[in-house]
């Protein structure tokens, strides 16, 4: 670690992982409610569990992105963070707002929460992923402003590397597109059209810039490969992500009102979206193969490669699966959508956050060459347990989706099975999903435990020797 101020990243990373655990617990509650309708429903109706699950996901990823930026931007800029104090303050503001919002979901009925928070003054609640009370949304904007200002000033006074520039465009885009969450017209078609300007332009737009920048940073560090090579790849990857992904938004405009040319534009442009994800795989394996030194933190390298592969599978392969309009006509809003949503979010964004944590946390804890061998071994086990169980969850949901379409959507009206009857038939697959979800939780527990595995005596000795 070059600069003392990079350490402000630590609470961000720790809190992100705490929220991650909460996210998975609520996922498992929903998974049970899918097959056993009475489970906890009087206390936590399905919609409440779902809000908690998805909002915790988004918030912990934002904490992760912020931690990543606070860690890497000073190092890239070759200067201390503009204001460590502001970063600490916004951590507490964001954490308090996040916890209060989740408690609000859990403790009062949603309609009541809308009243308490004066939703009628500026109604923004009750839309998927954007369920937060308007006051929370304003809080998110304030925190993002403080964050982007802090990072921006740091970049301005220091080195403007390619990683810094790509990261900062991503972060500015993240903040700007979030503003569309305040636009909630009474016309449902317009509402949906611009809802995607937050959701799609985040995950298939500016977040990919953040993903690319963080991945490039970690790869430079663990491989020692020449910056010039890595930066050129980064530019090409994020360029293709934007060129395909912006108009690729059309794949969400097929069946919600916009005109027919979106069937063509959405299909063609989004069919290209897997290309940058594929290039990320080639890039990651190429630079690891050409590495200049053996970094002691081998597991961080594994995470970096894993992110590229799993993001390609989740976003690239499972995205392509249902992105062409004639296919999407049948798959739209089915369990296949959930299959893709899970692998893409996990593979791309959950894993990039765990990648930077795996690289940066040991350094912040005074272990520049990574965690002790035993800790890394446990972390490697956790890596495989989480990746494989998430692949399993995705496959189960894919089977469920295909079966659902065959029973409910392909037959003519009159012959097709109803929604609820179809779901009954899918129950065995939903059980498989739930069991694999428990395996995922065990993997996560193993991952967290790896933080507490200490060094052997000889490792302590050699560390001390290195420090002298």
């Amino acid at each position: 670690m070059k600069f003392e101020s990079q350490k402000v990243a630590k609470p961000y990373f720790i809190f992100a992982l705490v929220l991650f655990v909460g996210q998975i617990l609520f996922g498992l509650i929903m998974g049970l409610q899918y097959v056993s309708g009475d489970f906890l429903t009087t206390y936590i109706p399905f919609n409440v569990a779902r809000m908690v699950h998805t909002n915790l996901l988004i918030v912990w990823l934002l904490f992760g992105f912020m931690g990543a930026s606070y860690y890497l931007v000073p190092e890239e800029s070759d200067t201390e963070l503009h204001s460590p104090w502001l970063a600490k303050l916004s951590f507490w503001v964001f954490a308090a707002a996040g916890v209060a919002t989740i408690l609000g979901y859990l403790l009062v009925p949603y309609a009541r929460l809308a009243e308490i928070t004066y939703n009628d003054l500026l109604p923004t609640m009750g839309r998927e992923f954007l369920e937060q009370p308007t006051i929370t949304k304003i809080g998110i904007v304030v925190v993002c402003l403080a964050f982007v200002y802090n990072i921006g000033m740091t970049v301005l006074k220091g080195r403007k590397t390619v990683i810094n520039m790509v990261l900062i465009t991503g972060l500015i885009g993240l903040s700007v597109f979030f503003l569309f969450s305040f636009y909630n017209p009474i016309n449902l078609v317009l509402d949906k059209y611009f809802w995607w300007w937050v959701v799609h332009l985040w995950v298939e737009g500016v977040w990919e810039l953040i993903l690319g920048a963080v991945l490039a940073f970690v790869l430079i560090k663990v491989t020692g490969v020449d910056r010039e090579i890595i930066e050129k790849w980064l530019y090409v990857i994020v360029a293709l992500a934007l060129i395909s992904g912006l108009v690729g938004m059309g794949h969400h405009y097929f069946w919600i009102g916009p005109g027919e040319y979106w069937l063509w534009l959405g299909s063609i442009f989004s069919a290209l979206e897997p290309v940058p994800f594929f290039m990320m795989v080639v890039f990651a394996f190429k630079v690891v193969k050409e590495r200049r030194h053996e970094h002691g933190n081998a597991i961080a390298t594994t995470w970096a490669l894993g992110t590229a592969v799993m993001a390609f599978l989740g976003a690239g392969v499972w995205g392509f699966l249902h992105t062409l309009a004639p296919v999407n006509y049948y798959t739209h809003g089915s369990q296949l959508t959930a299959a893709h949503g899970h692998l893409a979010f996990f593979g791309a964004y959950a894993m990039i956050v765990m990648t930077i944590i795996s690289y940066a946390m040991p350094i912040m804890r005074g272990r520049p060459q990574g965690n002790p061998i035993a800790a890394q071994r446990l972390e490697r086990f956790a890596f495989w347990a989480m990746c494989l169980s998430m692949l399993g969850v995705t496959l189960a949901l894919t089977v469920a989706g295909a079966w659902q379409i065959a029973l409910q959507r392909l037959p003519e009206s009159g012959e097709a099975l109803g929604f609820m009857a179809t779901q009954d038939k899918l129950a065995p697959v939903f059980w498989v999903r739930e069991i694999l979800g428990v395996v995922f939780l065990l993997g996560l527990v193993a991952y967290l435990s790896s933080f507490f595995v200490g060094a052997t005596e000889s490792e302590v000795d050699s560390l001390e020797a290195a420090a002298v």
Partner: protein, 148 residues
């Protein structure tokens, strides 16, 4: 990557290409905004439809249901429930929805539950108007059949 393709060129593709395609998206959005009035029949958005949308949001119906295929996949699609449960007749549908909302949660063991929202008759009527209006948006003939 080939040496002839320099980092400077890559940077130009990133900034230039990104800005160009974003402007393309903005242009297409303007065009769509001109076309939408013909497809979303906004002239039929009454006060009741507007109230219905607020009720839909305030009670987070989208946390279990999908609407035009977006939302959750736990409970039936509702953009076409007017056709499915009302047979395209507004009075029949309003009768159905009133009865349906009143009888939740149903006491079938282990079946997925819909909560009781304690809505007034007027509110149920507004929700019905919103769902009826939604069912008439030109959505390129989605879903494939009545089951949604």
């Amino acid at each position: 990557m080939a040496d002839r393709f320099t980092k400077g060129m890559a940077r130009n593709v990133y900034y230039g290409g990104g800005v160009f395609v974003f402007l393309l998206l903005v242009g297409l959005t303007f065009d769509t905004m001109l076309e939408l009035p013909k497809r979303d029949h906004r002239e039929n958005i009454t006060q009741s439809v507007a109230n219905g949308k607020h009720l839909w949001e305030k009670n987070n119906c989208v946390g279990c249901h999908s609407l035009m295929g977006e939302g959750a996949y736990f409970a039936p699609e509702l953009a076409n429930v007017f056709d499915r449960r009302g047979g395209g007749d507004e009075q029949v549908f309003k009768g159905f929805l009133g009865a349906w909302m009143a009888m939740q949660p149903m006491s079938v063991p282990d079946r997925r539950k819909m909560p009781q929202f304690n809505l007034t008759d007027k509110e149920v009527e507004e929700l019905a108007d919103f769902l009826i209006w939604t069912s008439r948006i030109n959505d390129n003939d989605w879903p494939p059949n009545i089951e949604g």
